[in-house]
C-alpha cells in the first residue's frame, strides 16, 4: 500500500504517509483518505519521509485537500521532506499555504 493514514495517539493530528511515487494514480485514494476526518483532528500532516518523487499532480492534490478542508481552517503540515521534494514545494511557493518542515 502506498498510502496509509493514522491519527496521533491524542487524536489531534491526522497523518497521511505517502510511500514511493506521489502522482496521478493516487488522486482518488488521496482524496478519500481525508474525506471523513474526525472532528478532533485540528492538524493534518502529510509525511513525505518515504516519498521518492512528486509531480505537479501531487501539488494539485495537496491544494485540493486544502480547499476541501476549508482553506486554512485546519493547519496542514508537509513534514519530513527530502531536499529535492522540499525544493519542488518551494518552487511552487507552497510555503505560503502550508507549514513545511
Amino acid at each position: 500500500m502506498t498510502l496509509s493514514t493514522e491519527y496521533s495517539s491524542d487524536g489531534k493530528q491526522f497523518v497521511i504517509h505517502v510511500k514511493g511515487k506521489f502522482d496521478f494514480p493516487l488522486v482518488q485514494q488521496f482524496r478519500q483518505s481525508y474525506s471523513d476526518l474526525n472532528e478532533s483532528a485540528d492538524t493534518i500532516a502529510v509525511d513525505f519521509r518515504e516519498t521518492e518523487y512528486i509531480d505537479s499532480c501531487a501539488l494539485g492534490m495537496l491544494l485540493n485537500m486544502r480547499k476541501s478542508l476549508g482553506a486554512g481552517e485546519k493547519s496542514i503540515h508537509l513534514v519530513n521532506c527530502r531536499p529535492e521534494i522540499r525544493n519542488i514545494l518551494e518552487i511552487a511557493r507552497f510555503d505560503k499555504l502550508f507549514h513545511i518542515d
Binding site: I85, N87, R93
Partner: protein
C-alpha cells in the same frame, strides 16, 4: 593416609612406623629435617610426625619449611617429644606445629590424634579444591563479562551521543546498565532519541539492549517513522524476553528544523520542557504500556507530536532519577524541578544530581538526557558518487497502445538512476521527465484543456476526462531523446508529440498568471522551467527541449 616420620633415632623410627603401619596407614621414615624437606614433594604426606631434637635441622626449624612446601592445603604437624616442659610445648606450637605428643605415649592416643588431624587435612583439601573451582569460575565470569561488555560497546558504537545539542548522564547501578539512551541521525536531517529502562538491573536487564539498539540504529538510518521503530522493538522484545521482563521506553524524533517533536512513550516518566524563561512544563506523558508486553495485534504504535521552539529544551529521564533516595523519602518530580530551576546547564544539573547521590547506596540505574530543540544542523544523507563518464543518447518512441496502458516514466527514470552517480538526481529526473511526458500526453495527444481545472470540482473532472480519453486513445506517438552529457554535467531532454502543437505565448502567459493561484494549472511546466535551464519550444509547440543540470542544489 600417608604419614611422614622424622626422627634421628633409628629405634624411634622403627617403633613409630610399626605403630602407624599397624593402623593401616602408609608411612615413610627419614632421619633428619633436610631429608624430610626433600621427600615432601614426592611423598606428599597427609600428616608429619616430627621429632624436636635432631642434629642439623631440628624440629622447630623443619616445621615452617614443611608448612611452606605444603602451601595452601593444611599439613598437620605433630611434634613427638620427650620434653614436656611448658616452654617446649609453646615453642612447638609457635614453630607451626599443630599438636604434640609426649613420649611415652599410648598407641590409641596416637591413632586418635592422627584421625583427628586427618579430618582437618581433608577439610582443608576440600576447601582448597572448592577455592580452586571458585577461582576458575570467577575468572571465567570475568572473562565472559569482558566479552559481553565488548559486544555492548560495539553495539553502541553508532550511538550519536556526541550530537552537540544533546547532553546525557547515565549512572548504572552495576557494571551493566539496564537503562539505555540512544541517539541517531536520520536521513532527512532529523534526529532520533530513545530512552529505555529495562525491568531489573545488571546483565540480565542489559541483554535486551542488543536487539533494541540494533533495531533503533538500522531503522533510524533509513528514516523510518517513530511508530514503525517502536513497533519493531516491541516485536523483537515480545519474542525474546521472559514475560516478567519488559522495556519502558520513550522514542522521540526531532525534525531538522528543531520545531517538531514526534514521540511515543510507553512507561517512561513525562519529560520536562524548559522554555526560554526557565519555566517548566510537563510534556510527553506515557500513553502506552512498556515495550515487549503486547503482541503485534495488541500493540498501539500511534504517536503524538509536540510543537517546540528553538529556545526550548527537553529533559528526558528514567524513574531512577525521581526515585533517588533523600533524607525524607524520594527526590520526586518537585525535587527534580527545583534542581532543574537552579541549574544553568546540564553540567550543573549533573553535579547537583551527583551531590544528591553521593554517600547513598544507589538503588536503580539513573539516566537523563537534555535535548536543546535547535535546528539539528545535520546534513541530509547524500551519495557523493562520481558521475559515470560515458556519454550517450537514448531515443525512445512510445506508441498510442503503450501510452494507453502504462506510464513509462518510472522505467526510464529507474534505468537512468542505475547509472553511476545519477541516483542522487532520481527525484528531479522523475519530476522533470514526468511533467514533460504528461504535458505531451495531456495536451498533445489527449487535447485536454487546463482551464477545465479552474471549475469548482475541476481537478477531479479533469482527471476523469483524462482517464476516459486515455483509454480511447488510438493514434499518436511521443518521441523522447535523452542525451546524457557527463562533461557538461547535464541531461538534455527533448520530447516531441504527434499532436497539433499550441501557441506557446498564451500558454506561457497563463502559466505565469496562474502560478500562485490554487487552480493547479500551469504548475507542471513551471516546475520544469525552475528545475531545468534553456527550456524552449519548437515545431509549433510540438517539441519541448530543456537541460537538467546534474549538479548539487
Amino acid at each position: 593416609m600417608r604419614v611422614l616420620i622424622v626422627d634421628d633415632l633409628n629405634s624411634n623410627r622403627l617403633l613409630l612406623s610399626d605403630i602407624v603401619s599397624n593402623f593401616g596407614y602408609q608411612c615413610l621414615s627419614v632421619d633428619n629435617g633436610v631429608q624430610a624437606v626433600e621427600v615432601m614433594g614426592q611423598f606428599n604426606p597427609d600428616i608429619v610426625l616430627l621429632d624436636v631434637l635432631m642434629p642439623g635441622l631440628n624440629g622447630f626449624e623443619t616445621a615452617p619449611q614443611l608448612k611452606k612446601i605444603a602451601g595452601e592445603v593444611h599439613l598437620p604437624i605433630i611434634f613427638i617429644t620427650a620434653l614436656d616442659d611448658q616452654d617446649t610445648l609453646l615453642r612447638c606450637l609457635a614453630a607451626g606445629g599443630d599438636d604434640f605428643i609426649s613420649k611415652p605415649f599410648a598407641s590409641v592416643v596416637l591413632e586418635a590424634k592422627l584421625r583427628a588431624h586427618f579430618r582437618n587435612r581433608e577439610l582443608s583439601k576440600s576447601l582448597a579444591e572448592k577455592n580452586q573451582v571458585l577461582a576458575y569460575h570467577s575468572s571465567r565470569v570475568e572473562r565472559e563479562h569482558q566479552i559481553v561488555e565488548h559486544i555492548f560497546q560495539n553495539s553502541l558504537a553508532r550511538n550519536y551521543l556526541d550530537y552537540p545539542h544533546l547532553h546525557t548522564y547515565l549512572s548504572p547501578m552495576s557494571m551493566f546498565n539496564g537503562d539505555l539512551l540512544l541517539a541517531a541521525p536520520g536521513p532527512l536531517g532529523n534526529l532520533y532519541v530513545f530512552l529505555g529502562d529495562f525491568t531489573g538491573h545488571g546483565l540480565s536487564a542489559a541483554v535486551g539492549a542488543l536487539p533494541t539498539s540494533q533495531a533503533f540504529f538500522s531503522m533510524a538510518e533509513s528514516g523510518a517513522p517513530v511508530g514503525d521503530i517502536v513497533r519493531e522493538i516491541n516485536h523483537r522484545l515480545h519474542d525474546l524476553l521472559p514475560t516478567d521482563m519488559f522495556l519502558a521506553g520513550m522514542m522521540i524524533e526531532l525534525s531538522a528544523s528543531g520545531e517538531r517533536v514526534t514521540y511515543w512513550n510507553g512507561g517512561i516518566p513525562p519529560a520536562l520542557l524548559i522554555d526560554d524563561e526557565r519555566r517548566l512544563h510537563t510534556v510527553m506523558a506515557p500513553q502506552n504500556l512498556a515495550l515487549g508486553i503486547l503482541n503485534d495485534n495488541e500493540f498501539d504504535s500511534r504517536v503524538a507530536t509536540l510543537s517546540v521552539t528553538n529556545t526550548d529544551s527537553l529533559l528526558l529521564f528514567t524513574d531512577g532519577l525521581i526515585e533517588l533516595s533523600e533524607a525524607q523519602g524520594m527526590l520526586g518530580r518537585e525535587g527534580l524541578a527545583k534542581l532543574v530551576q537552579s541549574a544553568q546547564s546540564m553540567a550543573q544539573l549533573t553535579a547537583l544530581v551527583q551531590q544528591k547521590m553521593s554517600g547513598r547506596e544507589q538503588r536503580d540505574d539513573v539516566s537523563m538526557g537534555w535535548l536543546r530543540c535547535k535546528p539539528t544542523g545535520l546534513k541530509p544523507k547524500s551519495f557523493d558518487a562520481e558521475l559515470s563518464p560515458m556519454a550517450f543518447d537514448m531515443d525512445l518512441r512510445f506508441h498510442a497502445e503503450d501510452i494507453r496502458g502504462q506510464n513509462p516514466v518510472n522505467q526510464v527514470v529507474q534505468s537512468f538512476a542505475a547509472i553511476d552517480g545519477l541516483a542522487n538526481f532520481k527525484s528531479q529526473l522523475f519530476t522533470v521527465i514526468q511533467e514533460i511526458y504528461n504535458n505531451a500526453v495531456e495536451h498533445g495527444l489527449l487535447k485536454l484543456d487546463s482551464e477545465l481545472k479552474l471549475a469548482a470540482d475541476g481537478f477531479e473532472r479533469y482527471y476523469q476526462l483524462y482517464q476516459q480519453r486515455l483509454s480511447e486513445l488510438k493514434d499518436g506517438w511521443i518521441e523522447m531523446r535523452l542525451s546524457y552529457q557527463p562533461k557538461r554535467r547535464c541531461l538534455v531532454i527533448k520530447v516531441t508529440d504527434s499532436g497539433d502543437g499550441f501557441c506557446q505565448q498564451s500558454s506561457r502567459a497563463k502559466a505565469e498568471q496562474q502560478a500562485l493561484t490554487e487552480s493547479g494549472f500551469g504548475r507542471g511546466l513551471r516546475l520544469v522551467e525552475e528545475l531545468t535551464v534553456g527550456l524552449k519550444w519548437s515545431n509549433q509547440g510540438r517539441t519541448i527541449e530543456c537541460t537538467l543540470p546534474l549538479t548539487a542544489q
